[in-house]
């Protein structure tokens, strides 16, 4: 199912949560909507689900308008599955009953699933690794198991679109890594389109086919994970996704001369025009190369070190600025260093 959103905006009272969003999602595509809290990503998801109506614009699923022009198709009539942040499991139903509920209740469930209900239930149980827990009640499950039930319930009637609202945010760090793999697996095996809302850039980069970065109700940048990470178009994306340092300086013929430096210039063919217009150069922490004092580049001083196993995270003071740098080499506190740019 392809989803098309045209000029979607949403106001709550006097505050505008979304500003004229245009977004198309292709069949089977995994799209991550990434942004800080309050950027409107959850509102966008709830509009897609049918829990909110857009103030302007319209949405069509497979060419059929479901919202807009005075039309609002309620959530139960869209072929959508949804995984909630708080799991939203029903305390009075066991795992099997959770999976059976949408199969039986949803009017849009394909007939072949409805007729082979038991088979579909065990298939979904198996897919989500819940076969042994089929009769457990929600309070008898761990956090990760609850999340799997929520996913199982969402995919049971084979929805053509799966919405996920920060599904991993209530799990602990280790479990989150495992669940990433499981969600990718579900995506590969069901081939349904997924819209995945998150504030964790790691999750978005790891799983999505395409990332939509949002800020203040607007789309800041959309593209593949590599594209977003390596070629941010705005300062916000550079900082939020790539954790980049924004170095100030002058642009001369596609080469960059940082402030407070002598004889240093960096190549900048691939840097977005926005940065060139503002005299900025985004440098990711891993793009810097640290060397002993006296080497080429900007000179600085180590003001904090954190050992992370395979690398060190440094805070380096260069003049009045403070840069974050990741390096495999070891330097001590207050040591003088030289900063240069890694060659692509």
């Amino acid at each position: 199912m392809s989803i098309e959103m045209k000029q979607i905006s949403k106001t709550f009272g006097s505050s505008q949560a979304l500003h004229f969003i245009d977004l198309t999602i292709e069949e089977g595509e995994f799209v991550a909507i990434l942004g800080p809290s309050g950027c409107g990503k959850t509102t966008l998801l709830r509009i897609l689900a049918g829990f909110e109506q857009p103030t302007t614009g319209h949405i069509s699923l497979n060419g059929k308008v479901v919202a807009g022009d005075g039309i609002l198709l309620p959530p139960e009539k869209r072929r959508i599955g949804m995984v909630f942040q708080s799991f939203a499991l029903w305390p009075h139903m066991n795992v099997t009953e959770h999976i059976r509920f949408p199969i039986r209740t949803h009017k849009e469930t394909p007939a072949k699933i409805k007729q082979n209900e038991q088979e579909r239930v065990s298939q979904v149980l198996e897919l989500t690794g819940l076969s042994k827990l089929a009769l457990r009640m929600p309070h008898e499950l761990s956090g990760g198991q609850k999340q799997r039930v929520a996913i199982a319930r969402a995919i049971a009637p084979e929805p053509s679109l799966l919405l996920m609202d920060e599904p991993l945010s209530s799990l602990d760090a280790m479990l989150r890594m495992d669940m990433r793999r499981e969600i990718q697996d579900v995506h590969r095996r069901t081939r349904s389109a997924i819209v995945y809302v998150t504030h964790d850039q790691g999750e978005a980069l790891a799983m999505a086919d395409r990332i939509v970065v949002m800020k203040d109700g607007r789309i800041e940048q959309a593209g593949t994970p590599q594209d977003i990470y390596l070629h941010p178009q705005t300062e916000f994306v550079a900082k939020f996704v790539s954790k980049a340092n924004l170095v100030e300086g002058r642009w001369v013929n596609n080469r960059f001369v940082p402030q407070e430096s002598d004889g240093v210039d960096w190549p900048g063919l691939q840097i977005a025009t926005h940065f060139k217009n503002h005299g900025l150069y985004p440098v990711r922490p891993d793009q810097f190369i640290l060397a002993k004092e006296g080497g080429a580049g900007l000179s600085g001083e180590v003001i904090n070190v954190q050992f992370q196993g395979k690398e060190f995270h440094y805070n380096i003071r260069c003049g009045s600025r403070n840069w974050e740098v990741i390096s495999p080499l070891s330097f001590g506190m207050n040591e003088k260093v030289a900063l240069s740019l890694a060659k692509d």
Binding site: T11, F12, G13, S15, A17, A49, G50, F51, E52, Q53, T55, G70, I71, L72, L73, P74, P75, E76, K77, I80, G81, M82, F84, Q85, S86, A88, L89, W90, P91, H92, F101, P102, T105, H106, K107, E108, T109, M137, H139, A150, R153, A154, P157, L163
Partner: protein
């Protein structure tokens, strides 16, 4: 409206919260949200706001325009001042007694390892579950010249008499033991929510147990304790049964009984004087609840703290003694007087000793089969409380749902308005009901006053808030995402209610309904002013028996009611057990 939902007005989604949904039950019924809101608003105004306005207006109304004459007249009466004095003494005395008993029991249950806490909890609540007039009757029969105490004292030394319950002290005592469970309930929660590391920190800092309680536990719990005290203050102002049974025979009156006597006495300006007294009493009550609300709002932060139920103090060997003391206190306060009342009701005649040959079921036969008025009263009360429960269940639960899922300024105001009839002292509320329904529109008397109809209206208005509160609590425990999960799984409005919402909230809602039923069944204050011949209730009938000196009949009927309440209580426990077995938890 089938496939396609029309837009609802944008202003309906003013406040941004998690639980917004584009459809509501009412918008389906009325098509337009505006209409429903207007209708609801009008109903709230008519049933909850108008009565109070009429009451206030009447208290200022003279032959020509507004006047302070009624208040002036009041202030010059000696009776008014003596009533005010005894009201102050009774309210203050019983509040202090309730606070002491409530805090002590709450501390024991919350912090120590005293055994059988669940049973103790129920025994403590029993004092409040019993209607105040039945508790009064049981105590007056227990301490009366015919009672057990008198016999014991007589045996000790002839001429020794028990302390008369028909006195200021008696009223203070019964009111105190009737209301202490209120303090207990509120304080228990407050105590359990105080993090124990606060106390540990004090102990580590060198404070002993007693100093820790005095300097840490007590100050932290103070807002909650004060709120409990104010709740008892309100309940004592409101109470009519205890002073009416114990005070009226010896000419002690409090504000609530004075208003009753004014209205029943029916003089030329009885209503006006009753109204001005009511305004004064209502004002005191409103001030009290405002103060309580402010205090509770301050301690709102503790809402998210999980109560800590494991014991903090080990009683050790003293445990047995504490437990025995607590149980004998609770038995002495309720069960012993109740059995005294029961034995009184089985006597052939007032004044006979308690021997087998003097026992009879005649009193029960009389009230059940020979006196048609009693039968009618029981029927009236059952029908009244049944209908009240059903109406409250339906309207109260729907309103509670809207209040939780679509909070708005409008429905917050509506909830506030609905809480007024329950906050106001019953006698004040009853008078305001008379004023409105005698003549809702000037010149038009629909004949509601003087029939069962006014009792229906009054009960529903007064007890609606109980259902709303339990509904709100029940719906709050079900996150809106549970419903949304049902919707997204293909369930329409109806199916998401029946499959998800109702199974999860029904225990809470039904408990609320039973609370309304039991409260309405034994109601006395409102009915005492509003009943007429043919529409008397159980409470009124016991009251009339007592006023006529028919102690044997009043104790027999009261004993029957206690059995009914016990059955209702058992039903509540069953509902809760059933809910627990279904694995429903918040």
């Amino acid at each position: 409206m089938s496939e396609v939902q029309s837009y609802t007005t944008p202003h309906s989604q003013l406040d941004q919260g998690k639980g917004r949904k584009p459809f509501s039950v009412l918008s389906r019924i009325f098509g337009k949200k505006g209409a429903a809101a207007w209708l609801g608003g009008a109903a709230v105004l008519l049933f909850f706001v108008l009565p109070i306005l009429k009451l206030i207006l009447l208290s200022f109304q003279g032959d020509e325009g507004l006047t302070l004459a009624h208040y002036n007249e009041l202030l010059q009466q000696k009776r008014f001042w003596s009533t005010l004095r005894s009201t102050a003494i009774i309210v203050a005395g019983s509040t202090v007694l309730s606070l002491v008993l409530g805090i002590a029991t709450a501390w024991l249950i919350a912090y120590t390892d005293v055994p059988r806490k669940r049973m103790l909890h129920m025994a403590i609540l029993l004092c409040f579950i019993l209607p105040s007039y039945i508790l009064t009757l049981s105590w007056s029969s227990f301490m009366g010249t015919q009672g057990i105490v008198a016999k014991l004292l007589e045996g000790l030394s002839p001429g020794l008499m028990p302390w008369s319950m028909y006195s200021m002290g008696g009223i203070v005592f019964v009111m105190g033991i009737h209301h202490f469970p209120l303090v207990y309930l509120l304080t228990l929660d407050v105590f359990r929510k105080i993090p124990r590391d606060l106390e540990w920190a004090a102990r580590a800092g060198g404070a002993g147990r007693i100093e820790t309680f005095r300097r840490i536990t007590l100050p932290v719990a103070l807002p909650g304790l004060t709120a409990g005290g104010l709740l008892v203050f309100l309940a004592s102002l409101d109470n009519f049964g205890i002073p009416a049974f114990l005070g009226t025979p010896v000419n002690i009156s409090v504000l609530s009984t004075l208003i009753y006597e004014e209205i029943i006495g029916f003089g030329p300006s009885a209503f006006a004087r009753g109204a001005s007294l009511s305004v004064l009493l209502g004002l005191a009550a409103i001030m009290g609840s405002l103060l309580q609300w402010l205090l509770l709002r301050k301690s709102h932060a503790s809402d998210t703290i999980q109560p800590d139920v494991s014991p903090r103090y080990v009683l050790g060997k003293a445990g047995k003694w504490v437990s025995a003391l607590l149980w004998s206190f609770l038995l002495l306060v309720t069960v012993v007087p109740l059995s005294s009342m029961l034995s009184m009701s089985l006597k052939k005649a007032y004044g006979l000793g308690l021997t087998v040959s003097n026992l009879t079921l005649h009193n029960y036969r009389y009230i059940l089969f020979e006196n048609p008025r009693v039968w009618q009263a029981i029927q009236n009360s059952l029908v009244l409380s049944g209908v009240t429960m059903l109406v409250c269940l339906l309207i109260g639960s729907c309103f509670a749902y809207m209040r939780v899922r679509k909070p708005s300024r409008l429905n917050r105001l509506a909830e506030l308005a609905a809480s007024v009839p329950y906050t106001l002292p019953g006698i004040v509320f009853a008078l305001s009901m008379i004023l409105v329904w005698m003549e809702p529109v000037p010149g038009w008397n629909p004949g509601i006053y003087g029939t069962m109809a006014i009792l229906f209206i009054a009960y529903i208005c007064r007890f609606m808030i109980l259902q709303v509160r339990s509904g709100v609590t029940a719906f709050m425990q079900v996150d809106s995402s549970m419903e949304e999960a049902a919707r997204i799984s293909g369930a329409g409005l109806w199916r998401s209610w029946t499959a998800v919402l109702l199974p999860l909230t029904l225990p809470g809602i039904l408990t609320g309904g039973l609370l309304v039923f039991l409260t309405a069944l034994t109601e006395l204050t409102v009915s005492a002013l509003l009943y007429s011949s043919g529409s008397q209730t159980i409470g009124v009938t016991i009251f009339s028996f007592e006023q006529a000196g028919e102690t044997l009949y009043s104790t027999a009927l009261s004993s029957l009611i206690v059995v009914l309440i016990a059955a209702g209580g058992a039903l509540v426990l069953l509902v809760q057990k059933w809910a627990a077995r279904k694995g429903v938890r918040s």
